[in-house]
């Protein structure tokens, strides 16, 4: 069989029957070409969309959950319902120590504050943070650095500003690092500038200062606004959220069935929804692409069937000269596979061009809708294998048709 595939005569025969009906062969191939073009174009675009989602979420530890205190919804242990739940630093330590699968627990506090620099001023949100925050919610630093452990230990008055704050308080192209700004009339040294991220879990924060500094300035003591919990990759974040909440309820005298006392936002769950949407879209893409492909391959089968009808006499002659039915079938199947493959390869190449065009139009820059639309080599190979299989299967129909006629009847055909 392999010898047959590498035999020059095999391809001579394919070429002959192709060149005899150039226009028809090309029209036939259009179906498959279109199918694979759609498949590649759609899959590439889906990948581009996925990439742009990933870029949005990329700064984010996707397996994280935020928990904050609210008002209790049930009376418990002598407390009335409606009591304000106040989470504390010790809660975060206990979670870190007792719950399985925790990577970090980051406490945070937040405030809205007036900021002044020279004659410029504004009102911004400020958060007290640990350096770990940078690992949960990656800050894209333009200049300088984020808060470090030394800042925490020494309760330094340093501040990391967002681009937006910088634009309001500084002149264009002015150097901000090392400058001072006044927050609540206290001087803070600017150590870093970060790019405002498009997606925020929780309230958007304009400025970050060391957590310990924040606690001291605003007299928060042990109290925290909320905590961010990040799970290890192999653990399920939804389960971690349940465990953490149960522990917090226990520590803060909340009824175990009280669902109102603790608020939470599970990034894993939210991102899971988007991922689910993306998977759904990929499935749809494959479905549409392959359905179109099948239609195209059927068109090839159809045309070959007509061709076989026209070539009945030729096939009869070949059989009179000693071609076995197997040899006839093999030739027709090879023709079918050849047509599908050539159409498919052209489709893949033109599909690639379309992706290049999409990339050039909407694939570059910060606000690109489809980032790097592309298909993997594996997808291309899968598509080609599907084409070969479909081509073979569809080629079998005309092949059996061709040999179902007796040579004597085939010879009588005019």
């Amino acid at each position: 069989m392999f010898k047959f595939l590498f035999d020059r005569d095999t391809w001579q025969e394919v070429y002959d029957s192709f060149s005899k009906n150039k226009l028809r062969s090309i029209l036939t191939m259009v179906g498959v070409w279109w199918g694979i073009l759609l498949l590649i174009g759609l899959l590439g675009s889906a990948r581009g969309l996925e990439n742009s989602f990933n870029r949005l979420f990329g700064d984010f530890a996707t397996n994280s959950v935020f928990i904050w205190g609210q008002n209790t919804g049930m009376p418990f242990k002598g407390f009335q319902e409606g009591r304000r739940v106040q989470l504390s630093l010790s809660d975060t330590k206990k979670i870190q120590e007792n719950i399985e699968g925790i990577e970090f627990v980051v406490p945070r506090n937040q405030n809205q504050v007036p900021v002044i620099r020279n004659f410029l001023s504004g009102n911004f949100s400020i958060a007290g943070d640990y350096p770990l925050l940078d690992q949960v919610e990656k800050k894209k630093l333009i200049h300088g650095r984020f808060i470090n452990q030394n800042d925490i230990e020494e309760k330094k008055k340093v501040i990391v500003l967002s681009e937006d704050v910088y634009k309001q308080l500084f002149q264009k192209n002015e150097n901000a690092i090392g400058e001072y700004i006044q927050v609540n009339k206290i001087n803070f040294k600017v150590v870093g500038l970060f790019q405002t991220s498009k997606i925020n879990m929780g309230p958007p924060i304009d400025m970050h200062i060391p957590f310990t500094t924040f606690q001291q300035i605003y007299n928060r003591g042990d109290r925290i606004g909320w905590m961010m919990i990040t799970g290890k990759p192999e653990y399920n974040i939804v389960q971690i959220e349940k465990d953490a909440k149960l522990l917090l309820k226990n520590l803060n005298d909340i009824h175990p069935k009280d669902n109102r006392a603790l608020g939470s936002a599970n990034a894993g769950k939210e991102i899971g929804k988007v991922t689910g949407f993306l998977i759904g879209m990929q499935f749809l893409t494959w479905f549409v692409g392959i359905a179109t492909l099948i239609a195209g391959v059927f068109a090839i089968g159809n045309i070959l069937l007509i061709t076989i009808k026209e070539r009945t006499k030729e096939i009869g002659v070949r059989r009179a000269l000693g071609a076995t039915p197997f040899e006839i079938k093999r030739q027709i199947v090879v023709e079918a596979v050849f047509l599908t493959l050539v159409a498919g390869i052209i489709g893949i190449i033109t599909g690639g061009w379309i992706l290049i065009a999409i990339n050039a139009l909407v694939g570059q820059g910060d606000d690109a809708t489809l980032v790097n639309p592309s298909v993997s080599i594996a997808v291309v190979f899968i598509a080609l294998i599907i084409l070969v299989i479909l081509g073979t299967l569809i080629g079998l129909i005309p092949a059996f048709k061709a040999t179902s006629i007796k040579p004597i009847e085939a010879l009588r055909e005019e």
């Binding site: 059989r319 000269l321 000693g322 004597i408």
Partner: protein
């Protein structure tokens, strides 16, 4: 060479059946040149098709060169046809998108012969029919007589034991017919066994033996004095 014994063949037509061959007995020796004659419907083509293994008899024996031809699968029939038989058709039946050389080489291709060897051999046979200079021409670029000579070269290519010709001159004018017949006679002189179906008396008279069929039985089977075709050319 060829031995046929009580051969019967009928074709179903609707509910009834048409009995085409009603017990044919025929024996052909090596080197003979036999014309099978008869009006249309006499069964002469059916007999040739059965001998050519393109069709199968309902009953009776057919022995070709001591090999009983019976219960053939399509594959086996194809191999036997390729090995033992050469076909010459009325309408030449060349493949129109292949040139003369490729047409002649086709039976050799199905023998699995290597391309180079095949082309050499095909060219040798084309030379023999006097068309070596036309090897690269397509059938449509050749005259009817030339096409039939290409077809004869093709029939000879696999060096068959038996040449079967179905009205080989049916599509040709008288002069060309005589040329072709002269050539077939020459092949017979060289020792080829030839069996041809014809309804033309003058063509039949150029064979060495004439078998007349009517309504599925042999009416007459006699040796004739061969008329040489060269004298008309």
């Amino acid at each position: 060479m060829l031995k046929i014994n009580q051969l019967h063949k009928s074709y179903p037509i609707g509910d009834s059946s048409l009995h085409v061959l009603k017990g044919i007995d025929l024996e052909v020796e090596k080197g003979e040149m036999v014309a099978i004659m008869g009006s249309s419907g006499s069964g002469k083509s059916t007999l040739l098709n059965i001998i050519g293994m393109l069709d199968e008899a309902d009953s009776g024996d057919y022995i070709l060169d001591e090999l009983p031809i019976k219960d053939l699968t399509e594959k086996k029939a194809a191999v036997y046809r390729n090995k033992f038989l050469g076909f010459i058709f009325q309408s030449f039946n060349l493949i129109n998108y292949k040139n003369a050389l490729e047409n002649v080489a086709l039976p050799l291709y199905y023998q699995g012969m290597k391309r180079k060897e095949r082309q050499e051999k095909a060219l040798f046979h084309l030379e023999k029919v006097g068309l070596a200079d036309w090897a690269q021409h397509l059938p449509k670029e050749l005259s009817g007589g030339q096409n039939q000579r290409v077809a004869i070269a093709r029939a000879l290519a696999a060096n068959p034991k038996l040449l079967l010709a179905d009205e080989p001159t049916g599509a040709l004018d008288t002069k060309t017919s005589h040329e072709i017949m002269a050539f077939i006679q020459q092949l017979n002189d060289e020792g080829k066994t030839i069996l041809m179906v014809t309804h033309e008396e003058d063509i039949a008279s150029m064979c060495k033996r004439v078998v007349r069929l009517r309504d599925g039985v042999i009416m007459e089977d006699k040796k004739v004095e061969q008329v040489r075709a060269e004298q008309y050319v």
